[in-house]
Symmetry: C2
Subunit: 361 residues, 2 copies
Amino acid sequence: MTDRVYNFYPGPATLPLSALKKAKEELLNWNGTGMSVMEISHRSKEWDNALNEANLLLRKLMDISDDYTILWMGGGASTQFYQVPLNLGLEGRPMEYVNTGRWSTKAIAEAVRFGEVRTVASSEDDDFKYIPKDVSFSDGAAFAHITGNNTIYGTEWHEWPDTDGDVPLVSDMSSNLMDRVTDVKKFGAIYAGAQKNLGPAGVTLLIVREDLLGRVPDDTPSMQKWITYHKKNSMFNTPPVFNIYMCKLSMEHLDEIGGVKAQEKKNRKKAELLYDVIDSSDGFYEGWARKEDRSLMNVSFRLPSEELEQKCVEEGAKRGLIGLKGHRSVGGMRASIYNAMSIEGVETLTKFLTEFKEKHE
Amino acid sequence: MTDRVYNFYPGPATLPLSALKKAKEELLNWNGTGMSVMEISHRSKEWDNALNEANLLLRKLMDISDDYTILWMGGGASTQFYQVPLNLGLEGRPMEYVNTGRWSTKAIAEAVRFGEVRTVASSEDDDFKYIPKDVSFSDGAAFAHITGNNTIYGTEWHEWPDTDGDVPLVSDMSSNLMDRVTDVKKFGAIYAGAQKNLGPAGVTLLIVREDLLGRVPDDTPSMQKWITYHKKNSMFNTPPVFNIYMCKLSMEHLDEIGGVKAQEKKNRKKAELLYDVIDSSDGFYEGWARKEDRSLMNVSFRLPSEELEQKCVEEGAKRGLIGLKGHRSVGGMRASIYNAMSIEGVETLTKFLTEFKEKHE
């Protein structure tokens, strides 16, 4: 028996065990340097190599071409909510957003400070249970913004919307980065707080097409401009070294298991296992999201009563199934099954849910 | 024999060994939760407790009164270079800075975007080898800004300048936070990137008087406003959990050895050991900073030739004394002896420097 639990928290979330073990093993002496990776200068040759390796590995895993740059930043995806309009906005051209829930709403709230924002589609009319279809953006938009996956409601874009060639599509992929094979070329920019599919909290990844970096006004504070990070390979100032290192270990794990394609297969299997329990429960478990828009990463569902929901969360916890309480805005339960969640973990959960239903229906 | 080196890097820098050992021990199972501290939800009761404990410990160590708030942020001190003028600037009132070197210069360069900046004193006339004396700020200034310690030149403020009661004194203390007993009440705000005296890179500490939080314009993006962090106990969005946790472990070590007072005594001893070698070397080693302004944290010095400097850095490295190369802008050598550097480490360095001199003078 392990003393580790199955962690279904929505983020920060479970990390690959092999990455944690490696980090533990070399925590006092990294890479033969005689110091922790937390202690080494970011200007050292050793760290420079590690950062470049992390970038190369990400390029390999996501098949990122050379016209895109990879940036590592602090401040979380919430910081990008204002940095996206600041860096990609264009005088006199609207910024267009699709509102699929809480995180889109927050992104829009920051963008309105920077110019005209148009919400071109929204699923608010049905409590964000779906992803709007046939979304179209204006040809003259500065950029088009979506939230790739919606952690609270458990919805996910399965087909990326089209934009006119000149309108860069931007996605917050904090909770679905590398959950399946994604054509980066469809996007002008992808950003992601690390703490779901990539690593620990404290670092944000930005993948952006280089030709877009020149849009930002020159007199913008240095740390608000993406181009500042680009020019210095994310080391204009001291980056979150340990956090990037953990992302690297996590990506090494992903590479070892066969990359994003293998991960996607595993993710589809995990999601299928869990949605099957819901769909075959004769209404005891009721999924929040519409079936066609269900997330591979977050499975949100309700039980017949709040009492049963609370009981289910508590009994799950006793069995080492942690973090199953739903977000307060939709209630119920939510199992977050990010890349690092094992099939075994999901099977343990489905077994528990099946037994719980039999006992309480 | 240990496989650890003595790490004199200017930051990221050496951390307390006990903190690293504790982190290693519980890296896969923190606090009996069955998960890493990197994996637990920042909304969990366990993390909430840990964050509050970290804040209480900092209040104890620095004797911070209740009219100050403690904020943990991402983005490094460089982010504060623009957030200080943004959050503390006042319409029609100048922002006054003392320029003591590279980091002050960078802070000033960001501030000019936000209003009138006056550099009221500077040591640029003598290559930043000293701290200006008898500095006075205008009564009507929005705030007065200093850089508490200057890592490159090895100078440090030993007496804080006075400001009019209404003019908040702001200090970048990235490289001298808690290096000696400091009266926080002298300051309106203190900020510090963690990676020298507090923890690993990736988190920035801000200690600010609460009454100053209302100055920022309402329509400022949420993540740029200190008040956003204050209202949510640094958890408006996901904070850099692991980085804060490491700061906590590091502070626990500081508390165990007797707090800042005991640390100051140790720091003075370390600095004395090293400056003594320089001063008694008959000019073989030449300190960069004027004696009265010497830093307790960074000891910058030159040797008779660049060849000898390079040789000294290389031979030091062979003996496990790492990171002694000076910053390119002043050249020579620099030993950064932050709080976590042991007296034993400094003694090993002084022994080496003494032998090196005997061999090469």
